[in-house]
Amino acid sequence: MSGVSDFIARPRTIGETWVWLTGMGLVAALVMIIGLFGFICYRGVIVFWPTTIVELELSQEAQERFGLPEKIAGRYLGESPRVAWPSTVDEMRPGGGLPEKKYFIGNEESYGSRFGAFTSDEVVARTKPLNLLVAERLEFGEAFLYPVEIKLSNGGAISADSPDFLTLFREELNQINQRRKAIQRLEKVQIGQISWRIEKLRTEERGIRRKGEPVSSSDAARLERIEEELSGLENRYRVFALEARSLRELQGASHLVYRLPHGELDEISLDKVNRVYAPNRLNLWQKVRLYVESLHLFLTESPRESNTAGGIFPAIFGTFVMTVLMSAAVLPFGVIAALYLHEYARQGPLVRLVRISVLNLAGVPSIVFGVFGLGFFVYFIGGGIDSLFFSERLPTATFGTGGIFWASLTLALMTVPVVIVATEEALAAVPAGLREASYACGASKWQTTVRVLIPGSLPGILTGLILAMARGAGEVAPLMLVGVVKLAPSLPINLVPPFIHLDRKFMHLGFHIYDLGFQSPNAEAALPMVFASTVLLILLVVVLNIGAILLRNHLRRKYTTDTF
């Protein structure tokens, strides 16, 4: 029962012998994509999961070697062999090659470093103290501490021994955090609005004065009115500033007295604490709640401590606004160009040359577009706008410096070939019968274009836009030249008039990742944020794409063109 019968039972299709190779190719590609994506997602998602904190007792040598006290607390990060190269020229590093456990030890201001790595004989004892607290601070990162008491602003105190100490502590913190937000609102929005008006009036005043002597009577009257308004505004400004100051004073009033693991007592103003929790006493439900809370803060807050802590909301928002602006610019631009190329231009060598050039434009390195954007948009057009419309403000540049508008236009220019090619293909795919039907009904060329060709090719056009968005949203290099910054003081769209500030510099997730991971002096502390930001950038691109795909499918159903 072998040989011939087997062969007949499983005939091989002649000429299909290499099919498995194509399958292997696909499998390899899938494994790489899923592997990379899975790794990034895993590392990005676990960032906010609360883990236990252990207390370590260090050996005498270790204390001397690292300049640390005898007891420290830390979050376990992982194990790897200790690098053996000499720490100074004449001395080999002790314990080189041995496996060392790495910890995040917090309390940077006391220890001088946020991380420590110890071999097994450098650690004498490991415990999991239940009353240890993690305090997320606005400066110097996390602190691992034992609370002693809270000194309240009214002179009272809450002892750490009281059973509902943590609840009371949280209430107090909550109050302070609310107040901090109120102060921020006051300063950013209310005072911001007033400063904006003052700035505008001052600019106008400067403009009038620049006309030189003699001042005409209408100008003189205007100047007087400006003066009046200015003094009114300045009074209101003073009122708000006073209010902000008094709130600020309240902020600094309560303090937490605590003990470090080795016993040293210290004190911190509650205004400097963002959040506290007891990591070793959490049940699963509390951990999940804490996780969701951290995620929420990450998505909605501004970054702190040179971006290694806090949230990344400005970067998400900046990326989103930039991508939307880019789409708004690239779509009409690309579609109009493609319409002319495909419908109106006389087909010939010139049009072919233009088409090839457009295709090649898609292959130009993005940094070249960045340089072009800087030279053309920022310096030439932006500088021109400044000298025409904002000459009162010079030498301070308004549009003559990088900003979200120029960045969007630069990316639009970079991605326009994608849209042109997709639109041309979509136009070519509109059935010739529909075109003829439209002409035969007495429609002009323009009417045919608007009523038949564009609706019929919308799904294809949107496919082009999806590709353009996917490319544009993740692009970083050109942005560095035309307006992205690592920390923008305010958002491109906010509550301060004129509400939409297209001239502003902005933050971008892609640049954020680059800056955190590779430019930060504290790269180690930034690593979790890098992963979390990467996951977010991928998610943002996916969400934008899904939105566009849904829109396209909707249109496709609406403008289905297959007959019979």
Partner: protein, 275 residues
């Protein structure tokens, strides 16, 4: 239903000779020494004949002989082909369609066209019918509603689609789509209907419906129809023109051309011996 059935009963299916109405113009359309070229290739050569008003004139001939090209000359749709040109003249009611002061858009409104492959727009039934009106700038809803009903009734489609006016036209059957295209054309009140093999993609029942419709339509419109189906030409047309390699071979009353063809080529073609 094809030309290789040689001895079909022509007489039984011939239409009655239409009663001549007083004001019917025998020379409604005049083709004068008309030649047409795609680039260097000549497709029509020196055609000269007249088409009477409000009758059905059929164009027959083997594939590639230029029937569609001729039909598309009447509404100047051929102009869309790059490098095409023509000599000679075509006149409708004495006015040249190539004259400088004639607006091609108004010409296309006067001579509506129905294509071989039905081509409704991927819009609603209603939007399809009003397309020609909307591009002509008619916006009043009441007017449009009325014309939609009248046109769909004129295309014998009203009863079938009156409840689906706002559904996508592509959900209609092939035959309904073709009648929708007819409704779309007659909505703009043309004088001439140009039908290019309107039934070639339809089954016999749908074909029958369209043929009946043509009988109705010729009361109001001058109908020019291209067909490969000899029986259809015999059934629906009053006059028939036979073309061969871009030349007009024979052009007479339909009855005559099918019963006593004068040219041996015509005879061979209508009896199905070549095609």
């Amino acid at each position: 239903m094809s030309i290789d059935a040689p001895d079909f009963p022509i007489r039984a299916e011939l239409p009655e000779t239409p009663k001549k109405v007083e004001e019917q113009d025998e020379r409604f359309i005049e083709v004068k020494d008309y030649s047409f070229f795609y680039g260097k290739k000549q497709v029509l050569s020196n055609l000269s004949f007249d088409i009477p008003e409000r009758q059905v004139t059929a164009f027959i001939g083997p594939s590639g002989c230029g029937k569609s090209t001729l039909l598309r000359s009447f509404n100047r749709l051929n102009e869309l082909v790059e490098n095409s040109w023509q000599t000679g003249d075509i006149r409708i009611q004495g006015e040249s369609i190539f004259s400088k002061n004639l607006d091609v858009i108004s010409l296309r409104r006067r001579a509506g066209m129905i294509f071989q492959k039905s081509n409704p727009f991927p819009k609603t039934v209603y939007e399809n019918v009003v397309y020609g009106l909307k591009v002509a700038g008619i916006r009043k809803k009441a007017v449009l509603d009325e014309i939609v009903e009248r046109s769909l009734k004129g295309a014998a489609l009203w009863d079938e689609v009156k409840d689906y006016l706002h559904e996508n036209a592509h959900s209609l059957s092939g035959g309904q789509q073709q009648r929708l295209c007819i409704a779309r054309v007659i909505a703009t009140e043309p004088q001439i209907l140009l039908l290019d093999e309107p039934c070639s993609a339809l089954d016999p029942i749908a074909t029958g419906k369209i043929e009946e419709l043509i009988h109705e339509l010729k009361k109001r419109f001058t109908v020019l129809i291209v067909t490969h189906n000899m029986q259809q030409a015999a059934r629906v047309s009053d006059r028939t023109a036979f073309f061969y390699e871009g030349k007009l071979v024979e052009y007479r009353n339909t009855e005559d051309i099918f019963l006593n063809p004068m040219n041996p080529r015509t005879e061979a073609y209508v009896s199905g011996r070549f095609g």
